[in-house]
């Protein structure tokens, strides 16, 4: 039987491959939003933090988990919102571009 760790390793390597190919397709103009959205995605550690913050017997380990939940939530919410804010700026341009490109 194959160990768990080997399955995780397979997932890990394939995910790096996917990441590599998807990220090269990102237009350089959007590299700052790329960084803020990947930053928000790395806040997925929130899932681990939630497990830490909801143990059967809540002791100091639970408090450490709650602290992690707070930090990761700031990151998740803040990261996605600020990315949206940036991308809205790239949107407003389209009608203006049509007007300006008229000549």
């Amino acid at each position: 039987m194959v160990d768990h760790i080997v399955y995780y390793l397979i997932i890990f390597v394939l995910a790096i491959f996917v990441g590599y190919h998807v990220v090269w397709s990102v237009t350089p103009a959007l590299h700052t939003p790329l960084m803020s959205v990947t930053n928000a995605i790395s806040a997925i550690v929130l899932v681990g933090a939630m497990l830490a913050a909801g143990p059967a017997a809540f002791d100091w380990g639970g408090w450490v988990g709650v602290a992690a939940v707070v930090l990761a939530s700031i990151n998740a919410v803040g990261g996605f919102l600020v990315t949206q804010r940036m991308l809205e700026m790239f949107k407003r341009k389209e009608p203006a571009a049509k007007r300006a490109g008229g000549h």
């Binding site: 990947t38 707070v70 300006a100």
Partner: protein, 464 residues
């Protein structure tokens, strides 16, 4: 909720994250991509909440934590200015790093809460060790990067003798304690873990302090990558495939951005990491010969551009510092109204982080189809009447094409090929590389000295 159901939902969330990145291939699909990202995060959180509820019912503190953290996140995301994006991203990286360390501590204390065997198997300990030290380095490194970017600490590199040996020895000692933690019995697991984590925090500081302000785009990309690897490391230790997938996506994204930034400066990654570059920004290598520059006024610049057929604007970070983006947009609109073809040329390292200048121009409502990347517009300078350089220096320095110059090989915007070059600078001070710029002394170059915002506003007035 069964473990299988949870895992399948995590798969859905992971695909959402991939689609979020995929959307960024064009500005028109980027917003939808971000919505996918948000959906992925919501799915992951709701499913995990259901999982915890079905096991322990203890979700009160989790929800409280999310509300508090989320509220802070909303305020920060609304208030931050676009020029502060690099600082914000650095600060966010530090949060991920710290969260990873806290989760690891919690997992060592109570593995049962994560569905891990008690006592913790040595394999998971090894992974916790990896997740912790990457998280700790990400945290302290990002705090230093944040300090440098926000001007709270000096951005000049801090270099001292034996620095790299010290780092190497500390890293080896850290790994030694990591092995001790790996081998220790359940009763004696804490001391080696605590020492190891403390060393990792110190290492994070030591790795970032020798790197100068000019190299910040690389540093911030590198820390972006680290934060992803930290998440993946935690995923391995908690046997959670979604953390592994999301972490790897982020890790490879940051690595690619670091590579692109290094290439744009023609520096090797190792060279950037070892640091010390740009030790004295602004120190002009003043030779004995007195070269003369031709200087002009804003009115002169307005006259030349008003009569041109095509203008390419090269914005540098100096423009952002002077908050002149809106004035530039106004000037471009006026010129376009006169029938001048106005475009923008962006060097990859024009801002303080990858793509920073594009965001700053977008904020000023410059249409993105007027904004071109270096490779797309370099061929156009030769047939362009006026290149207007605003607060940029090294990225248009023709010395980069001369063998033997310190920046030889760095790709530049070939502004010197334009028929006329107008350069706005505050003074004749050199750029980050500390080099003189022959572009300023060319016969076809006109220097307009002064604050970028003031100068551009004067040009706008003169165009009326």
């Amino acid at each position: 909720m069964s473990a299988n159901q949870v895992a399948l939902w995590y798969l859905v969330a992971s695909i959402c994250f991939i689609l979020a990145l995929k959307g960024l291939s064009h500005p028109s699909t980027a917003r939808r991509g971000n919505l996918f990202g948000i959906a992925g995060m919501v799915i992951a959180v709701v499913v995990t909440l259901a999982l915890v509820y079905s096991h322990t019912k203890n979700v009160g503190m989790i929800l409280a934590g999310i509300v508090v953290g989320g509220a802070i996140g909303v305020v920060v995301a609304r208030r931050v200015q676009m020029t502060q994006m690099p600082e914000l991203v650095a600060a966010f990286h530090s949060l991920v790093g710290m969260a990873a360390v806290l989760i690891a501590i919690s997992a060592i204390h109570d593995p049962g809460a994560f569905g891990l065997p008690v006592p913790l198997p040595s394999g998971n300990r090894l992974e916790l060790f990896i997740g912790t030290f990457i998280g700790a380095i990400t945290f302290s490194g990002s705090v230093i990067a944040f300090g440098k970017l926000s001007g709270r600490i000096r951005s000049a590199p801090v270099v001292f003798a034996g620095q790299h040996w010290l780092n190497l020895i500390l890293a080896l000692v850290m790994i030694g304690f990591g092995i001790a933690f790996f081998l220790a019995g359940d009763a004696s697991k804490w001391p080696p873990y605590i020492v190891m984590t403390a060393i990792a925090f110190v290492l994070g500081v030591l790795i970032i302090i020798p790197i100068g302000g000019a190299d910040m785009p690389v540093v911030i990309s590198m820390l972006n990558s680290y934060s992803g690897w930290a998440a993946a490391g935690i995923g391995f230790s908690l046997n959670n495939p979604m953390l592994i997938i999301a972490g790897s996506l982020v890790g490879s994204s940051g690595a690619i951005l670091s590579y692109i930034m290094c290439k744009a400066m023609n520096r090797s990654f190792v060279n950037v990491i070892l640091g010390g570059f740009g030790a004295e920004p602004g120190s002009v290598a003043a030779g004995g010969e007195q070269k003369t520059v031709k200087s002009g006024s804003a009115d002169d610049a307005a006259f030349v551009m008003g009569n041109a057929e095509s203008v390419i604007i090269v914005p540098g970070y100096g423009l952002a510092v002077a908050r002149a983006q809106h004035a530039v947009k106004e000037m471009a609109t006026k010129l376009r109204a006169k029938g001048v073809n106005v475009r923008y040329a962006i060097h990859p390292v024009a801002g303080r982080m990858p793509g920073h200048m594009n965001v700053l121009l977008a904020e000023a409502e410059v249409p993105y189809d007027q904004v071109f990347e270096m490779d797309d517009i370099n061929g156009e300078f030769g047939t362009t009447d006026v290149a207007l350089i605003l607060g940029a220096n090294d990225v248009v320095n023709p010395l980069a094409e001369q063998k033997g110059s310190p920046i030889y090989g760095m790709p530049i915007l070939e502004a010197y090929k334009a028929r006329t070059v107008i350069v706005n600078k505050r003074s004749m001070a050199a750029g980050y590389a500390g080099l003189d710029n022959p572009l300023f002394y060319m016969d076809k170059t006109m220097m307009v000295f002064g604050d970028a915002k003031k100068v551009v506003e004067d040009i706008v007035k003169a165009l009326d």
